[in-house]
């Protein structure tokens, strides 16, 4: 060795070694922390050449499916479903399968950064100064706000507690998947009609007849794997019985494609159709017609919705027959100006056939569901615009990409003095932030998911790291807790957790007393089982069967849906795909997995009925300008001639059109959120299904990479 190493240098170097060796992972089932060690000195359960499997929870969407991740030599290899988990019972969707591409994505943020806004210039920081920056923001509760995503309930619960004890305003929780399915509207409709505060569980598996009003339950709705299992169960009932599905929506989704009947109704007329079905069904069933349904004029409904009178009568009688029927209020019905009343009308169908707490009916789920509606986001934007906000913390959501352009979030962000993002990737919001203090990737972090909309029993799903963090990232809960510890005062004395794991353990302690499928004498044993099984849940399904007396006497009011001007304006349907809330666009295998209906990969498109396209002189693969009728915003999209859509409707999938988020996501397709109308419905949800657009050919063309032509679309080659 020619270089001289002083004793001081030697200590520095070994110091680095010690830090690297003690990165907290907590992989072990029986220990709280496991230190990262050299391969030569692996813990006995982690042998070279032998896979180790860890249970955790999928964080790709809020459904909270249980995962078993295969790891080998400290690397996450393959995501599999957790067979014991009550939500997905061993199954897993495309999004969950590609979460390893999130951990090992080459475009991850590798450490805390100070950033110049609207540019990609960054300066690396130390975590200590990052924590000091966060502490500065936390010192001033009046001038600080939190904006969180739908994933990982533990962080929301912690921030909620911090807000209460520190005097901050309630954190805003927003995600496009919740917006597209009208989650707040569904919750409010249920609250107003039933007596409980939860989004119900729809037991389609035990029903005979399912009427879906725009619920894409096989793709992203509420808990897609739980409902896919329900779909199987519905089709494969004892004695060869096969359940029947009728789907009402303007654009045929994958769920409608698997239905027995697809009824392409006018967007916005779902509520009135539900009322008409209720009226006919009540007569058929021989029960007194409730006041809610009595006033509806069947002829009017037939005209507004575009369903023939004969069909309407047939469907109403089917719903009122002696079979077990259930009605699902989906996104396209709820995200309109009539949304709340439509939701109530559809839920009232369930009341009419008395399926509440019956097999094949609807049940309350467990755990309070905190989702902010769009009105809360608007209030936050207004507050940002006044310049009162000094610090905004953003975690788990990408508002610059996800919110409609005319909501003005990006402009409002400029008036906030310090914007701090905790994103793992350089997304559109990070580009507009001052700091990014990256959280661990999903498979590297601790946590839990509490609201499990696909579970038939009370359940908590645990999240644990399956691999040691590969970059210099830090759990956001740990950053917040360290910052609180560094400032004295009311907040520090109220929040007594030493770190994230301490918070988790204290939060789950009450579960020891409740009877779950395992028990433990004390917390350390409970904690090791909690990690080993991937959560805690009750042994048997436990759906409340309380008698409910629901009044269907209230009157609902519906404005006539705005009709499209023939050949000029079109209804715009936006729907979620395997990209979820858009964060999936940087997973190359999600990009390369074809869309189930169009088989298009690596891009997005606008679906137009072939007849409409012919009238407008538009061809497959033409690029058209899709312009909002109510604002100046427009996007350019490639045309896909889609035979299963109303001629007065066009549709754009959500999730592509990124200007940031890394090499796999950037510059592909368009983002329909840009043209969404910012009107809200009575429940405060975005009335995005009311958006109408005009189409204009641009003269440009670009072939979409479709799999439907095995020979390829680039012609001779």
């Amino acid at each position: 060795m020619t270089e001289k190493i002083s004793r001081r240098d030697f200590l520095k170097i070994s110091g680095i070694g010690v830090t690297a060796a003690t990165v907290i992972t907590g992989c072990g089932p029986s220990s709280r922390y496991v230190t990262r060690q050299a391969y030569a000195n692996m813990p006995e359960y982690n042998q070279t050449g032998v896979s180790t499997y860890y249970a955790t929870t999928c964080k790709e969407c809020p459904a909270g499916c249980g995962l078993i991740v295969r790891t080998q030599e400290g690397r996450a290899i393959k995501v599999e479903g957790n067979p014991g988990h009550p939500v997905n019972k061993g199954k897993v969707c495309s999004r969950g399968l590609t979460s390893v591409q999130g951990v090992y994505n080459p475009d991850r943020i590798t450490g805390p950064q100070k950033r110049a806004r609207s540019s990609r210039t960054t300066t690396a920081m130390e975590w200590q100064s990052a924590i000091n920056t966060v502490a500065e923001g936390l010192k001033n509760p009046q001038k600080t706000a939190f904006l969180l995503g739908l994933q990982s309930d533990h962080l929301y619960d912690l921030v909620q507690e911090i807000s209460e004890k520190g005097g901050f305003t309630k954190p805003v929780r927003y995600g496009t998947l919740g917006t597209l399915e009208g989650r707040s509207t569904l919750l409010k409709a249920t609250q107003e009609l039933y007596s409980y505060d939860q989004i119900p569980f729809f037991d389609i598996g035990n029903a005979d007849i399912v009427f879906s009003f725009g619920a894409n339950f096989l793709e992203t709705w509420l808990s897609p794997l739980a409902y896919s299992r329900g779909f199987r169960q519905l089709r494969k009932q004892p004695f060869g019985k096969r359940g029947y599905i009728v789907s009402f929506e303007a654009r045929q989704s994958l769920s409608s494609a698997n239905a027995d009947e697809w009824i392409p109704i006018t967007p916005g007329s779902e509520g009135q159709v539900a009322l008409a079905i209720g009226k006919i069904a009540a007569t058929k069933a021989g029960v007194p017609t409730p006041a809610m349904f009595a006033e509806v004029n069947l002829n009017d409904v037939s005209q507004i919705s575009g369903i023939s009178m004969e069909k309407l009568l047939q469907l109403g009688e089917l719903f009122g027959s002696e079979n077990k029927a259930i009605a699902l209020p989906g996104g396209s019905a709820l995200t309109t100006k009539n949304g709340l009343d439509a939701g109530k009308a559809i839920m009232a169908l369930n009341v009419l056939v008395e399926n509440t707490s019956q097999p094949g009916g609807i049940f309350p789920t467990f755990g309070e569901n905190h989702t902010s509606d769009f009105a809360a986001v608007n209030a936050l934007i207004a507050k940002m615009n006044t310049g009162e906000l000094d610090t905004l913390f953003i975690h788990g959501t990408n508002p610059v990409f996800e919110l409609p352009a005319s909501a003005g979030f990006q402009a409002a962000l400029k008036k906030v003095k310090t914007v701090i993002s905790f994103s793992t990737f350089e997304d559109e919001t990070v580009v507009e932030s001052d700091y990014v203090f990256p959280d661990h990737a999903a498979l590297e972090s601790f946590g839990y998911q509490r609201v499990l909309l696909g579970s038939d029993r009370e359940a908590y799903s645990s999240i644990q790291p399956v691999v040691a963090p590969i970059h210099d990232t830090k759990a956001t809960a740990d950053v917040l807790l360290a910052a609180i510890l560094s400032i004295s005062g009311k907040l520090a004395s109220g929040i007594q957790y030493t770190d994230e794991v301490d918070f988790l353990q204290k939060t789950i302690t009450p579960l020891i007393e409740k009877k779950g499928f395992y028990s433990a004498e004390e917390l350390p044993t409970f904690w090791s089982k909690w990690l080993q099984f991937g959560g805690w849940w009750k042994t048997t399904p436990e759906l409340s069967s309380s008698e409910v007396d629901i009044n269907l006497d209230q009157e609902l009011s519906f404005s006539t849906p705005q009709s499209a001007k023939e050949g000029e304006t079109f209804h715009l349907v936006s729907y979620a795909t395997q990209m979820g809330d858009g964060s999936g666009a940087n997973r190359p295998w999600l990009q390369e997995t074809p869309d189930p209906m169009t088989t298009v990969t690596w891009n997005s498109w606008v679906e137009i009925h072939p007849k409409t396209a012919e009238q407008l002189g538009i061809h497959d693969d033409d690029i058209v300008e899709v312009k909002s009728s109510n604002s100046d915003f427009s996007v350019e999209a490639i045309v896909y001639l889609y035979p299963a859509i109303r001629p007065d409707t066009v549709a754009i999938p959500f999730g592509q059109g990124h200007t940031a988020l890394g090499r796999f996501a950037e510059g592909r397709g368009c983002n329909p959120a840009i043209v969404w109308s910012t009107d809200v419905n009575q429940a405060g949800d975005l009335a995005l299904s009311d958006t109408t657009v005009t189409l204009k050919p641009t003269g440009k063309r670009r072939p979409l990479a479709r799999q439907e032509s095995k020979e390829g679309v680039y012609g001779e080659h």
Binding site: S228, P588, Q591, T593, W602, A644, Q707, S709
Partner: protein
């Protein structure tokens, strides 16, 4: 041990049944297969040239006219033919029938890339590595150590997750028992959200696949070509039983 392995191997004839009545066409099997088998992603341009590497694809055909239009989804993969058209045309014996599992194997280090096999496959089940596809670091960390990473110029296709068959056999052998129905699940069947894919041993008359193959809804794709496919489809569609 060797005798036990040999005895079990005699009884193996792996097969798959796909119930089209509950297959929703969601593509989870396609992603699962790709993640399990180290299949490279090729990017938009190559996909548009028809050079996607998916071992499994969901065929989607539109049927009917608006408003009675509906897509027909059918998962298509290597049918592991008993009398496979791809085998006799290979000049270097890179594609051949395995004695043990009775499936078609592709021996990557024999393959010289003539592509005769793909041309002769009536199911379009084979994909060819036209290039070396980059998996940028550290993304290579998730590669499955049980599956070979293929290079340019090599043909590949569905293997019925042969690595899982081998593991299942070893596991049963280590426990001193015969391999049982349900011991082996390929990645596609494991992920399938509606459990539409069933996998098992066709030589065991009591296995789930053997029972399903006897269903009156069962058919084999392009059966009249005499390829003896080991994948059976159960007819679905909205008319069945409704």
């Amino acid at each position: 041990m060797t005798e036990l392995l040999a005895k079990e191997a005699q009884d193996e004839k792996w097969g798959m049944v796909i119930d089209l009545d509950i297959c929703s066409g969601c593509q989870a099997c396609v992603t699962a297969c790709s993640m399990e088998n180290n299949i490279p992603f090729v990017g938009e341009d190559e996909m548009a040239y028809g050079r996607g590497m998916q071992w499994m694809r969901i065929r989607r055909y539109w049927e009917g006219e608006y408003p009675e239009v509906t897509p027909d989804h059918q998962p298509m993969l290597c049918q592991q033919c008993g009398s496979a058209p791809c085998e006799p045309v290979c000049p270097v014996f890179a594609t051949l029938h395995s004695e043990v599992e009775k499936i078609n194997l592709q021996v990557y280090n024999r393959c010289i890339g003539t592509r005769y096999c793909a041309n002769n496959c009536p199911y379009h089940a084979r994909t060819f590595n036209w290039f070396d596809y980059e998996i940028p670091a550290p993304m290579n960390s998730y590669l499955n150590p049980d599956v070979t990473v293929r290079r340019r110029g090599v043909m590949e296709k569905c293997t019925f997750c042969v690595q899982r068959i081998v593991k299942g056999r070893q596991q049963a052998s280590a426990e001193g028992r015969e391999i049982e129905d349900g011991d082996v699940t390929p990645a596609c069947a494991q992920a399938c959200p509606t459990d539409a894919i069933t996998f098992g041993n066709l030589s065991d008359p009591e296995s789930r696949v053997s029972k399903m193959v006897r269903s009156d809804r069962a058919y084999k794709e392009l059966e009249n070509l005499g390829t003896e496919p080991r994948v059976t489809y159960l007819k679905g569609g909205k008319s069945y039983g409704g």
